[in-house]
Symmetry: C2
């Protein structure tokens, strides 16, 4: 477990092979376009998971399924392990440096979050008594999205001997989660010459092409060395290899520059040349300049996104780690990309996009990265609308109804469990809500006209067909769904799903009016394009809004997760032996399904999204009922409870749950960090802090804060991009400071009191 | 499609390669211990499914599953394709006889159901104008359970040339449904000599060992020929090969005798010798004697099981086909065996035992094969009781509760769909009901003491733990089940399941009393063995019997398939376009689940089993409600509706549904006969005739009949073994004849009137 004394770094000291695969995840690097696990540059024969990923490049792996159901997709899109560009074999006196084989001392690993690089150093004993110190630093350039660079420094400490360096590119890689042990890449070209190489490979399906080029140079101390390397190539692999005399006390720095370019961003024919040029430019500009760019850009990112917590180093480090990883995963400059649940840190889950993006990630990117980035997340789904319509058609829906996929890369559904794929349809609601959330936050109603309304109409059509009239109830019902709590499947009238469906219909009606007022021409254009029968269809929507069944218990004063929830034996998490948890590892599925235990916020997810619809007492009753029944066996669960607990002033509960979310990976609560990081739930941690402890809300186009610090926190400070202003709020137990760094006059509400900030402005106030 | 002019034979005329795989199923042979699809003896390079099966020998194939759930079994037991013993290559003038390569004329295939053999003849043109007539006859001996014999007759019609015969044994076979393309057999020994060979092989898992031996002899006309064959062997394969001059106009008969013995019935070390001896004995006794035995034994079988229908050849042929196949599949002399859904006619479904056995097959075997056979079907489950307890334990049940598996070979669960494996638990009820059904039929209460009660206690314990008290309803509920209608999954309070659960509890209480009265010592022994807390446990059972929720609609006067059934959009099969049927091939699973359409009898299954619990009006209302909603997309569905329709005098409906069940395979309604026959639903066809049109019921230990013939049937006659009598009833539209062939005095009720038969007796009566 990394130590937590440093608030800007993740630090690991001492060599612990058993934790290495977990550390490979924790120390991952990314720049929104590429990602690289913290694999070693030199050979490593011990257990590890090699991982290098290029955003948007995936593989449609043939589905594996026990019992096929009509409507299942043929394939599951896999995040694709790509070229190993960091590879650099080192032999000292003919002995291969491999930490699995040689004695290691003074192992140190650091993820520098402030400046965006990975550093590692250690001493290795290559022969009896002969020690070599090695230090490796690398980064994926934020400035140059297709460039990775590394410095690999070797110092023979107490002897002089030969050093053989073999920098290489290796595209002959596998995915560990391949369903049928297939290799996914086919080599096209391997060019290798002195001090350079380039490989072009294509995916065996879909014909994505990726080219990787390398350049390198060697210095003895400051002295540039001329090299005469041997070149070798084979299918999907190219290397240079050369030997130098390594003198005692001298440090040899090998700088390796790699460019990785893909057919997403270049014509296929030009990929080879592009990779070559970009790598060449990187070497020409040099490692120092690249690193300086990196520090500069990370400084800018932190400028707008940092959260400072005084009095709780552990929480401080954790929140920065979460923000760092989110920023590495998605930079928002390409609407074809999205935020995978593991980002670029592992293979698990495949696909890149879940409802996590809309329900958990969007608020972070809105407030930290700004409107353009947030808008691209929405446009991503707009671009997938035709596929969402196809997806719904496969399930028997008509008239342009859209069902967004549970898991996707290109808009097509990848998932294949009927109770999820076909029934966990609340995801459609999250996509509608994200449009509302974005428009509410930025006041950008033009987005509705340009993109949003078409999506809303398609989703409303889905809900309208998905409900049916119950003669028995004399109400509309929504049968056979799975709510956010996946510990109930195929239930009837899940309150959350029905509520968000009803809300979508309402918001679509309002958005039709909004667009009509804003741009009548565009309004008519959309009606034409969507063939919307305005009167007939909206009348049905209104009818559903009026008559949709939403289960509740009048006696308990709560909403019911589903109609028959109270038929279950009512127990709480406290009644459950520790040895039985997590229940999904100890109980058979039927037992889980008929228990009252909840995996993640469900009714409370709805209360979180629509807080303003409910009075405080209602929220309290639902929280008091559902929180004790919730096991938080999804990483996405605690954050929502934190926000509600803080709202209800249950700060101990809020802080307890905050710890579970914020250090989930750093402390490896779920014993699965070796598979990759929980990227999307990191956005949930941000929500916990800003909406939970900061109490941030947007109401009527204005920002409200209601800061409540956990015990022990001396202060909490964060920046927010809101509309055209940049604000910074520092909360202390007894008061706050509010800065306006840029933008126009703005009204801010803090603890129910209105403050007006003009020009560059700073407010200081004690709570009264 | 075979022609239907013959009431004792299935006949196919003309060579139709596209239908060959279907015919391979239809013309399958079996003797309860082995089965053989109607593959050709000679080479056939066209599409076909080679299939030779040995009862009780299976393979635990590694499970294939998309998303693993806790509690899933590691393997799925596969019916195992075994040694090809019929193999006999024929070359004429060096040309291989292969119906896929050569012109074929006068192709004729006959399944002789009366005498139990398969006959095939055809003429093939081996070279221009050179014609050879071939006739092949074979059977699996009912008398000698480990023997198969065939006669292969070759007549050069218009030329003299060389005939090369290559009889072989081939154990190098595959299963087409292997999950990972594994071969399942490992060769142990291949011995081959002149005119004999033996191969021993074992399964790669579980170490079942099977030995196959062959002998053969050749005759030219009646003249025995001395042969000097070459012997060849390789892994899992052995052959003899020899040439003779084939003279124009002479018929050459090759007789091949095979013995197939398994470690189920012999010590492993003696298998080789046993196979050798049994094959040798068969040849010594000769083909004619074996065939005479076969005819004799089949005559005896038909003596007790035949059903005669006058006025409807199609129905006559069909019911004989069903009886023939059922008799071939299970002979009831080994309680380790059972009745697989495809019997020995294909690989599909794997496993050997489903709830089909208890719910559909048992009545046929009770009435046609007698008490000993029926009892063995029950003992089979008794022997699996410890595994059923383990199976329940995997799902969290305790205290000796048993859940019998959905699909099994040795008592362990093989299935892996949570909504079926874990939730389609009504199968437990069918197993309890079978005990009741058997005891009711044979009056054998001693069975309860010996075996039945232990099973009943374990099943009652399961139900008792599977329900929970609903505070909301103030009743016990059974959540998360799948009823017989698999078009609803994970529903609450399935009426059928809850009803049969409640009935099981009641019957277990009664059986405790019965056994106590019958044999107090054994009663106490069972209490000790099962650790039954008599007062505490039976009190809970009584409480559940009193307070179990059974959903119904008072308004409609019907039982509800499940609590929320009336929330569904109510449509009938008539509302469904033909192009959408079967819906399981056209609709996505969620759409099926939330529709009101029913795959197979569910509430009506309960009404069928417990007819005497309900008044006629209740049965009528439920039938009128559910029949129109039932799609009969399971082969097990129509028979139950036939019985109820006949009871309600809806004879047109009864006959319409009867046709669907009785000629399902012969007319290939579902376009899947190439995969094998629907063996267990054939028992349903028998139910349709005897319980439906014959109106047979057992009440208070006495037989009741209420014959109702479909229009056009001149008579329906069938035999029944009941207790220690053999009865024959011939029904005509205007009266009946009742014969008693053996047994004591007996009272029989026909159309509500009591008749007493003494000694050998014949009654004739007209209905008044």
């Amino acid at each position: 477990m990394p130590r937590i004394t440093d608030e800007w770094k993740i630090i690991e000291e001492g060599w612990n092979p058993a934790q290495h695969q977990g550390s490979e995840s924790l120390f991952s690097l990314g720049n929104g376009h590429m990602g690289q696990r913290a694999n070693f540059e030199e050979d490593y024969s011990g257990e590890h998971l090699q991982g290098s990923y290029v955003a948007g490049i995936y593989y449609p792996d043939k589905t594996r399924v026990g019992w096929w159901k009509n409507g299942y997709p043929e394939y599951f899109a896999k995040v694709l392990n790509s070229v190993n560009w960091i590879g650099l074999r080192l032999q000292v006196n003919g002995k291969n440096v491999d930490l699995h084989q040689l004695p290691v001392r003074d192992f140190y690993r650091e993820l520098n979050m402030r400046e965006g690089y990975l550093l590692r150093s250690f001493t290795v004993e290559v022969e009896r008594g002969k020690k070599v110190k090695i230090e490796a630093q690398r980064f994926l350039s934020l400035q140059r999205k297709e460039v990775g660079a590394l410095r690999y420094s070797v110092s023979p400490l107490n002897f002089t001997g030969t050093l053989r360096f073999t920098p290489y590119l290796d595209f002959d890689v596998v995915n560990h989660d391949s369903n049928y042990d297939e290799k996914f890449w086919e080599g096209l070209t391997e060019n290798v010459a002195s001090q350079k190489a380039v490989i072009v490979a294509k995916t065996k399906k879909l014909d994505f092409v990726v080219a990787a080029a390398m350049r390198y140079e060697l210095f003895a101390g400051d002295h540039h060395l001329t090299l005469y390397p041997d070149s070798t190539k084979r299918d999907k692999y190219a290397e240079n290899s050369f030997e130098v005399e390594g003198r005692e006390g001298v440090t040899y720095h090998l700088y390796k520059y790699a460019a990785i370019v893909s057919s997403l961003n270049h014509p296929k024919k030009e990929l080879l040349r592009a990779a070559d040029e970009i790598a060449s430019d990187a070497m020409r500009d040099g490692y120092s300049q690249l690193l300086a760019e990196q520090k500069q850009l990370w400084q800018e990112r932190w400028q707008n996104s940092d959260i400072r917590i005084e009095g709780d180093s552990s929480a401080q480090q954790a929140i920065r780690f979460n923000i760092f990883q989110l920023t590495q995963t998605y930079t928002g400059d390409d609407p074809r990309l999205n935020i995978g649940p593991k980002g670029f840190t592992g293979e698990k889950y495949g696909g890149s996009t879940y409802w996590d993006t809309e329900a958990y990630c969007l608020p972070f990117y809105m407030a930290s990265a700004g409107q353009e980035v947030a808008r691209n997340l929405l446009v991503y789904r707009y671009r997938h609308l035709p596929k969402a319509v196809e997806n719904a058609e496969k399930l028997g829906f008509t008239n342009g109804a859209a069902l967004y996929p549970m898991v996707t890369m290109n808009g097509e559904e990848c998932h294949n469990e009927w109770e999820i794929t076909f029934e966990e349809i609340h995801r459609n609601g999250a996509i509608a809500f994200a449009i509302y959330n974005y428009v509410r936050y930025f006041g950008d109603e033009a987005y509705l006209a340009e993109y949003g309304l078409e999506v809303l109409i398609a989703i409303s059509r889905f809900w309208s067909q998905r409900v049916n009239w119950s003669e028995a109830k004399q109400q509309y019902v929504m049968l056979g769904v799975t709510g956010p709590n996946e510990y109930e499947n195929n239930i009837n009238n899940n309150w959350y799903t029905s509520y968000i469906a009803r809300w979508t219909l309402q918001y679509t009606l309002e958005s039709l009016d909004t667009v009509k007022k804003l741009n009548a021409g565009r309004h008519d254009e959309i009606l034409q394009k969507t063939h919307l029968k305005l009167v007939e269809e909206t009348n049905r929507w209104k009818d559903i809004i009026t008559s949709l069944f939403l289960p509740e218990s009048k006696e308990l004063g709560i909403f019911l997760q589903q109609e028959n929830y109270l038929d279950k034996e009512q127990r709480t998490a406290a009644d459950l032996a520790e040895s039985e948890r997590p229940i999904n590892q100890h109980w058979s599925w039927d037992r889980i399904l008929r228990s009252c235990y909840i995996k993640q916020a469900d009714v409370l997810q709805g209360i979180y999204l629509f807080e303003d619809h409910f009075d405080r007492e209602t929220i309290q009753r639902n929280f008091d009922f559902y929180e004790p029944r919730t096991l938080h066996e999804s990483s996405l669960s605690p954050c929502v409870h934190v926000v509600i607990a803080a709202y209800l002033n249950q700060m101990d509960k809020a802080y307890e749950l905050y710890l579970r979310t914020s250090r989930l990976d750093l402390d490896d609560y779920n014993k699965e960090v070796h598979e990759g990081l929980h990227i999307t739930s990191m956005a949930g941690t941000w929500l916990s802090v800003v909406e939970g402890f900061g109490g941030m809300r947007v109401r009527n186009g204005q920002l409200h804060f209601n800061p409540k610090l956990p015990e022990g926190w001396k202060s909490l400070a964060f920046k927010i991009q809101f509309r055209n202003t940049t604000l910074e709020l520092e909360c202390k137990p007894d008061g706050f400071k509010l800065y306006k760094h840029s933008g126009d006059e703005i009204n801010i509400w803090i603890k129910g009191k209105e403050y007006v900030l003009k020009g560059e402005n700073k407010l200081q106030s004690a709570y009264t």
